[in-house]
């Protein structure tokens, strides 16, 4: 177990209880205007993407206030980390953003590597890049399908899942798992790449550009789609920065910030790609930015498979990981935004504290500001455009 600082277990929970009361029970005591109602959306609602609960204060159908209630999927991932060894905790991070498990794993592995001051060998880094970019495409595809479904377009979902399936098949061939992959290992890769990884990736990437065109032909210039997304949920660049919003949501507001470029990790510094940005920061821009990101990810994959260096896949790490005491913060550009891991080591085999910065949670905080003055239908569109995964929000 190792030594713990005093007071570690006596953490008070009154703060949590107070918050729960404030969030959960005093709808009755709320002072409402004469023609206002409180509408409770979720946690069981078709389009809150899991178990998000949004309490809306409505004037007719217009939103005049909102409050998110989260925690329905809380599993105490950060606390679990304190009782697991560094390797044992790695599969848990896959279960936070379960739509992009590979990216979660990459962030965690790299953070621990940074803490231990080891580096993954070049081969491992390139394969990590390929798999993570495929995962970004898969995550964006899932976002596109569900977002379109929320806005009422039923069909794109199935096209998106069709392509996502191909990516999941690559994952399955690589590591046997489709969703919660646990693809990487601290110090390198869990498995050697299978023989046809390059070929499968290339086949997918070659066909994928046309598929994106197909989604665009269904949505991009559709009058209804444009009407439903243009000018909806505007988030200005200043507001986005002030709230710590990251990822495509931030970039759609016109801020060119991508950790892959700003603080390159894995093998991103070797490849050419651009960072798409929007201007208005509305739902339509976020849609366009994400579509373009899929194209850029495809480009990265194609560049990466051209030259995968040979060599070992695992760096110099022992079977028992004992990082020196200290702390580290490492963040990566996950499909949803900046995914950060803050790990404190006390020199034992188990982390003293792991704090995770989930992009979904911090992006979700912008929801209230984005939906004020809009209609109920737009709330659904904005929740969709934020691309939240509740597993990650609640952890």
């Amino acid at each position: 177990m190792g030594t713990r600082k005093p007071g570690h277990r006596e953490r008070t929970i009154t703060g949590v209880a107070d918050r729960y009361n404030a969030a959960g029970t005093n709808v009755e005591t709320t002072v409402l205007g004469a023609d206002e109602i409180i509408l409770n959306m979720g946690p069981q609602h078709p389009s809150t993407h899991g178990v998000l609960r949004v309490k809306l204060r409505l004037d007719g159908e217009k939103v005049v206030g909102s409050e998110c209630v989260i925690g329905y999927l809380h599993r105490g991932v950060e606390k679990i980390a304190e009782h697991r060894s560094y390797q044992q905790f790695a599969p848990y991070v896959d279960r936070m953003d379960y739509v992009a498990a590979v990216s979660n794993g990459l962030g965690y592995c790299e953070a621990v590597e940074k803490l231990m001051q080891v580096e993954a060998p070049p081969r491992a880094r390139v394969i990590r890049t390929i798999l993570t970019e495929l995962q970004r495409i898969a995550s964006h595809l899932f976002w596109l399908g569900t977002h379109a479904l929320d806005i009422g377009a039923l069909t794109p979902l199935f096209y998106c899942l069709r392509e996502r399936e191909e990516i999941l098949k690559i994952f399955e061939k690589y590591c046997g798992a489709r969703l919660t992959t646990h693809a990487f290992r601290i110090g390198g890769l869990q498995y050697e790449a299978y023989d046809e990884l390059e070929k499968d990736t290339e086949r997918f990437c070659k066909g994928f550009d046309k598929r994106v065109d197909e989604y665009e032909s269904l949505l991009t210039e559709n009058r209804i789609w444009v009407g439903r997304t243009k000018g909806i949920g505007i988030l200005t660049a200043d507001a986005a920065i002030a709230m710590g919003v990251t990822g495509p949501v931030l970039r759609a507001s016109g801020v060119q910030w991508d950790i892959r470029k700003a603080m390159p990790y894995a093998a991103y510094d070797q490849y050419e790609f651009s960072i798409p940005t929007g201007q208005n920061g509305d739902t339509y821009d976020r849609y366009v930015v994400r579509l373009e990101e899929m194209r850029q990810s495809r480009k990265i994959c194609l560049q990466a498979i051209e030259n995968i260096p040979a060599g070992p896949i695992l760096g110099k790490v022992g079977k028992v990981l004992k990082p020196p005491p200290g702390e580290v913060y490492h963040s990566i550009e996950a499909p949803k935004g900046e995914l950060g891991y803050y790990i404190v080591s006390d020199g034992t085999t188990q982390p003293y504290r792991v704090r995770i910065r989930p992009p979904s949670l911090i992006n979700l905080e912008a929801l209230d500001q984005m939906i004020r003055g809009h209609l109920v239908a737009d709330v659904v569109a904005v929740i969709g455009t934020l691309d939240i995964v509740l597993g990650e929000v609640d952890r």
């Binding site: 609602h45 009422g152 096209y159 009407g227 000018g231 809009h374 709330v379």
Partner: protein, 442 residues
């Protein structure tokens, strides 16, 4: 005996319609799911019966056996009665529609007015049901539905007025006969009117992209949220019956009712052989697929469907095969008329499904804006355009091929103008005035 004879056939027809309609609605749902699956690269229902052909029966049984839940705080009587209003209104509207020249329950001289009036009553079922459920989602769904129906009833009514001007009668049978005499369907004389009616009828039946009242991603299931089991099935039945009703109205008013395409042209008489051939084709497909079914029962069922199609083909071919002056030959108009009518209704409903799976959903305010700022003015212009054409044709004796295209062109120009001006007024953000910070918990 003679005194009751006029009532026998209508009562029989009515019984047939009421008995068959739930089945038909069930199969429309199956077709819809199959069409949807086809557009979405998947198979759709495949489990119950061959190609899922028995799925509607299984669904009906499941719905009937479900626990009947009435929410504690609901208004019991209204909650109980509201679906009945919806279904009754939808079914009553079918009474005045001519499915073929002989197959009609009642040829009212105010037929169209009757259909419009009765089908508008159906909204009571939705509003009352939404209110009686005592739930915010239901209430909002019901209110949306009421607003939507009122808005689109206006333009649908105006579109119908256009066709009425052309036909000069309110009787549904009279309208089809007028098209027969004129020699063209009204869709060619009043395409804009048909377009308006198409849009308005989608909105009236609460179908996507105008399915605000039950927008599942926003309002869970709208006015039906609290309903389950048989009462929910009744709402569903009402929705699909309404689809049949609006499709029938469109077929009657704009698509020539029971008439075959080019009904008056001798050279196109070979089209008479199309219905039996179509049936034979379906039968052939069934027989070909039957041996490939996995279970003996499914093989038999598939073969039975094939046999049924052969019987239908025989019925359809019969009037053509016998000598011209026999009694059977005179039944051709009835039998083939019913086929063509149902065929047109089917195509119209297919268009509904097609749109549903292609387009995203409108937002409520956009829907209202489209209704009042575009469709209503356009439908009024359409009526004026048709009026101008008719005046030119009847008073000044301009030829048909000049006056009617002129009317259509005028309407289209006005429509383009409306579209151009409408775009300027679009405000994406509804309440842009700065609200003071009002959190949920004051």
């Amino acid at each position: 005996m003679n005194a009751i004879m006029p009532y026998v056939f209508p009562v029989l027809f009515a019984l047939v319609i009421v008995a068959l309609l739930p089945l038909v609605a069930g199969y429309i749902v199956l077709v819809e799911r199959k069409v949807m699956a086809d557009m979405q690269v998947r198979l759709g229902p495949m489990r119950v019966g061959p190609h899922g052909l028995l799925q509607p029966i299984a669904d009906a049984v499941k719905l009937l056996l479900k626990e009947d839940i009435i929410p504690e705080s609901a208004d019991k009587l209204l909650f109980w009665g509201a679906p009945l209003i919806s279904v009754t209104a939808a079914m009553l509207a079918l009474a005045a529609l001519p499915i073929g020249p002989f197959f009609q329950i009642a040829d009212l001289n105010i037929g169209l007015l009757y259909i419009l009036g009765i089908s508008s009553l159906g909204i009571f079922g939705i509003v009352l049901g939404g209110w009686a459920s005592n739930s915010h989602y239901s209430l909002m769904g019901a209110l949306r539905s009421a607003a939507q129906l009122v808005s689109y009833e206006t333009s649908a009514g105006m579109a119908i007025v256009g066709a009425l001007l052309l036909a000069g009668t309110l009787s549904t049978r009279g309208i089809v006969e007028a098209q027969s005499e004129a020699g063209w369907w009204f869709i060619f004389v009043a395409p804009v009117g048909f377009f308006i009616y198409l849009v308005a009828s989608i909105a009236e039946t609460n179908r996507a992209p105008f399915d605000m009242p039950e927008a599942e991603s926003e309002l869970v299931a709208g006015y039906m949220t609290e309903y389950s089991g048989f009462r929910w099935a009744l709402y569903f039945l009402a929705e699909y019956t309404n689809m049949v009703v609006v499709a029938s109205i469109a077929a009657t008013l704009f698509l020539g009712g029971w008439m075959r395409p080019f009904a008056n042209t001798r050279a196109f008489n070979f089209l008479d052989y199309l219905p039996p051939l179509l049936m034979l084709g379906v039968a052939g497909y069934c027989f070909r697929r039957a041996p490939k079914q996995p279970v003996a029962v499914q093989k038999m069922f598939m073969a039975a469907v094939g046999l049924l199609c052969i019987v239908l083909a025989l019925i359809l071919i019969m009037p053509l095969a016998v000598p011209r002056d026999s009694f059977l030959a005179s039944s051709k108009a009835g039998i083939h008329g019913a086929f063509w009518f149902l065929f047109k209704v089917g195509v119209y409903i297919y268009v509904f499904m097609w749109l549903r799976f292609t387009f995203p959903r409108y937002r409520f305010d956009q829907l209202m804006r489209l209704g009042w700022q575009f469709l209503v003015p356009l439908s009024i212009v359409n009526v004026m355009g048709i009026g101008v054409s008719l005046a030119l044709h009847r008073q000044l004796h301009w030829p048909n091929w000049v006056s009617f295209p002129l009317g259509v062109a005028l309407t289209l120009i006005a429509g383009a103008f409306l579209l151009a001006t409408g775009e300027k007024h679009e405000h994406p953000r509804v309440g842009d005035e700065e609200e003071e910070e009002t959190p949920v918990h004051a």
